[in-house]
């Protein structure tokens, strides 16, 4: 890729990050519209505020939420495509540019290991100081694909997310019931409901987390399988409602991705209650 191509790549990545942080996908608007048809007055009021906010954010290309999130990059690459160091640098430059443009919240923590953990040296003033999470790359069957997903992961859902083992007893029901129990507890504490539950199931904590992130990129509000519907319905019985104010719609949908499984009595499950504005994700085909 020549210099012009790299510059265009940087600009496209910056725009993708801004889109991730400011735009609702159409099917999420649809999910909110369905939820508002049947809920309590307070829940409908809260969901209307959330939808109005999304429309203003999209129009202004401004943040949906002040916690603009930590950028997570997922790269999918097919057999006939390649990527080199110059392109990766252009992508990272695009992330920095997008964080300035959105603007991202200036929340990179200064200092050495101890200082960063204790947050004793303060924060960087530049939103672009926020380093993305480690890049995730996946080889895919589509030979011509070179695709970048950018996810902006807010802090509230991270407090309430959980990655842990489940003894499955050779029963899908056992695993689903465990997920439902975790989700009920976390959604009731989150505050930014209605949620979208992202669930990954894998052989290790890393793989379960990777599956959870892929669920966030692939999930659709208008295409839900039986497991996803069951989790959503069960968590909604908790009556947490929008913003925890009580109501029928604590969860809009569940996005679940099941990876390869280990020959074992254990499944590793990662569950993240994405807040009312998440998943904040946008895609760029390179």
């Amino acid at each position: 890729m020549n210099e012009t191509g790299l510059k265009e790549l940087t600009e496209a990545v910056a725009d993708t990050l801004v889109r991730a942080g400011s735009v609702f996908p159409p099917d999420r608007y649809g999910a909110y519209a369905r939820a508002m048809e049947d809920d309590t007055e307070l829940s409908v009021w809260a969901m209307k505020q959330i939808v109005d906010n999304a429309k203003v954010a999209e129009k202004n290309r401004s943040p949906l939420c002040d916690d603009t999130g930590i950028p997570h990059l997922l790269l999918q690459i097919g057999k006939n495509r390649s990527i080199n160091g110059d392109m990766l640098e252009a992508i990272y430059e695009g992330v920095r540019s997008g964080l300035k443009k959105l603007p991202g919240r200036p929340m990179a923590v200064k200092g050495d290991d101890k200082q960063r953990i204790e947050q004793s040296e303060g924060l960087m003033e530049d939103p672009a100081g926020l380093v993305p999470a480690p890049l995730s790359m996946e080889y895919v069957d589509d030979e011509e694909r070179l695709r970048l997903y950018i996810l902006m992961q807010g802090g509230g859902p991270e407090i309430r997310a959980k990655t842990y083992r489940v003894f499955h007893r050779h029963s899908l029901d056992t695993v689903l019931e465990e997920i439902i129990q975790w989700a009920r507890e976390s959604v009731s504490q989150l505050g930014c409901s209605p949620c979208t539950l992202a669930v990954g199931i894998g052989r290790s904590h890393f793989e379960a987390s990777a599956m959870m992130l892929r669920a966030m990129t692939e999930g659709r509000y208008d295409v839900q399988n039986e497991c996803e519907k069951r989790i959503t319905a069960a968590v909604n019985e908790s009556n947490t409602g929008a913003l925890g104010l009580g109501g029928k719609n604590s969860v809009l949908a569940t996005f679940m991705k099941t990876g390869p499984q280990r020959a074992s009595g254990v499944r590793i499950v990662c569950m993240r209650p994405c807040c009312c504005f998440e998943p904040r994700v946008a895609m760029l085909d390179l």
Binding site: A46, P63, D67, C192
Partner: protein, 168 residues
């Protein structure tokens, strides 16, 4: 819908009921995890009196203030929920944030004559309704400093008042 202009009187707060929708205007404080324990420390050692920070009849919005805007963080984080008592005792009448709080916190708020309200995390809308902002204390904390904002028409719902909680 009841409209409240901060700072408020004790009478303004007394009549508030759980599930009541309100609109908030006036001068409010913004602080979260990093700064609220420091403000609590200033109350404890008495230095708040010389600081020019007047908490009487005040509101603390649990948010950062940054170029990205404002929006509630989880009020049930340890540093936030655990400082509500001393802040209420020092004059704060409304804590504004999101998320369920403990039963003991609801009882404490009743004792101190304060309430807890939930605000939707609608950053794009809230940021448009800021008239002015200034750092009130601990500017070195950046977005986590104590800010004073002048705002109008912030929508909220009373979640805890008079010992009653929407979460119970």
């Amino acid at each position: 819908m009841k409209e409240l202009r901060f700072p408020v009187s004790e009478e303004d707060i007394k009549g508030l009921k759980v599930r009541e929708q309100i609109l908030i205007s006036g001068r409010i404080f913004c602080g979260r995890d990093a700064v609220l324990p420091k403000i609590a420390g200033m109350i404890n050692d008495g230095s708040i009196k010389e600081s020019g920070i007047d908490l009487n009849g005040g509101l603390i919005f649990h948010t950062a203030v940054s170029p990205a805007g404002v929006g509630p963080t989880s009020s049930n984080k340890f540093e936030i929920e655990s400082t509500m008592e001393i802040l209420s005792h020092a004059g704060i009448r409304m804590h504004l944030g999101k998320g369920a709080l403990k039963k003991e916190t609801a009882e404490m708020l009743k004792r101190e004559g304060a309430v807890y309200a939930v605000i939707p995390p609608v950053t794009a809308l809230l940021t448009d309704r800021i008239k002015s902002r200034r750092v009130a204390a601990f500017g070195e904390l950046g977005m986590e400093a104590l800010y004073e904002l002048e705002v109008y028409d912030y929508p909220a719902v009373i979640a805890i008042a008079g010992g009653e909680s929407i979460y119970e």
